[in-house]
Symmetry: C2
Subunit: 191 residues, 2 copies
DNA sequence: TCCATCGAACTGAAAATTCAGTCAATACTT
DNA sequence: AAGTATTGACTGAATTTTCAGTTCGATGGA
């Protein structure tokens, strides 16, 4: 786990968080990770490789950190509350969440110009949407699967939109959370 | 004024649409505009000047294109249809919309790392949200103003989220339009 | 003559990428 | 066990590429 390689990916996430994907300098990444620039190339062939692997890393991490809090054993958990908790998880002012959200937003924005990133991104997005759709199924069993899929797409896209507004200073965090809860409410109300 | 200078700005918009702000190369811009690099520096001193003027150019254009369809006389058109039309306007595969959406996304993404951009962006966002809230008021007169404001924030944030997913190849355009219509529907249904 | 424009050759600096090795741990003999 | 390849992680320094920005002589039109 605590590979050098993984440490580099962690460092890349940090650098991307503060400089953006297009602001990432291999030398700065090396300094951040406390290794030589050459080691970066040893592990990841080229700059594009770094980005590729970092994207994977980030979406894995996001996935893990979404999946982690599933103490399904507790009988008191209501699926709707679970859903709210999981989505709100991405709207918190902690270094970890800020890092992931910022990096995710950057990758998303970079993919607009870099076709190489698109496939991974689309896959990660799909996985996420699927996860949320499943939760919606539990929270609202009388709905149809396609309806859940559409709701999940809306909720996750909204979350991305709110998140970038928050990070770019157009929307206070508390307000973003409130808007998201409102959206969950409406989605669960639909026939 | 519709000179070479303006042609360069138009070309810059195109280049930014395909490479992003941080991917804009002066030489590529010159080629796109069909002029020499020297001429670029002749008109805009340096790269920062190009970006500055181009962003001005783009937001002028965006403003014009949102303001253009203001003939919302209460008599002929259904306000809900108006609302749908206006929001769907941003999800179309035409060069103009692609350009504007891409540039907007770039600004949004850049603002995460560049605090200087934040104020203008927040103001523009606010204006937009306000516009949509007003339309919601017309389409759903029994709702309260704060509810309309929240719906407008959700719809515009969702639109930004869908738009970037579309542009980054994670979501087909038609599907994005469908999801947006679904969201309008839910927002107008809420009590 | 003045202005917009071209073109092409440069400069300098910042970044990316490569390379020739070092070092330490592991496996392979004898 | 001692000696010896082998390998994988790693480095510092050098090389190559990419860009912004400059300079200057030439051209053609108002």
């Amino acid at each position: 786990m605590s590979d050098r390689r993984t440490e580099i990916l962690r460092a890349a996430t940090r650098v991307i968080t503060r400089r953006g994907v297009r602001g990432l300098r291999v030398a700065e990444l090396a300094a951040e990770a406390g290794v030589s620039t050459s080691l970066i190339y040893y592990h990841f062939t080229d700059r594009a490789g770094i980005l590729h692997r970092t994207l994977e890393f980030i979406s894995d991490r996001a996935g893990r950190y979404t999946a982690e809090r599933e103490p399904v054993g507790e009988d008191d958990t209501d699926p709707r509350t679970d859903l709210e908790q999981i989505l709100l998880l991405e709207l918190q002012d902690t270094p970890e969440v800020r890092e992931n959200s910022t990096a995710w937003g950057e990758l998303r924005a970079s993919a607009v110009f870099d076709p190489e990133l698109r496939e991974d991104l689309a896959k990660a997005t799909h996985t996420w949407v699927h996860e949320i759709a499943e939760l919606l199924g539990r929270a609202h069993p009388m709905g149809t699967a396609p309806a859940h899929a559409a709701s999940a797409e809306r909720l996750t896209a909204l979350l991305e939109g709110l998140s970038v507004r928050w990070l770019s200073g157009s929307l206070p965090l508390e307000h973003a959370r409130h808007l998201l809860l409102g959206a969950i409410d409406t989605e669960l109300r639909r026939p």
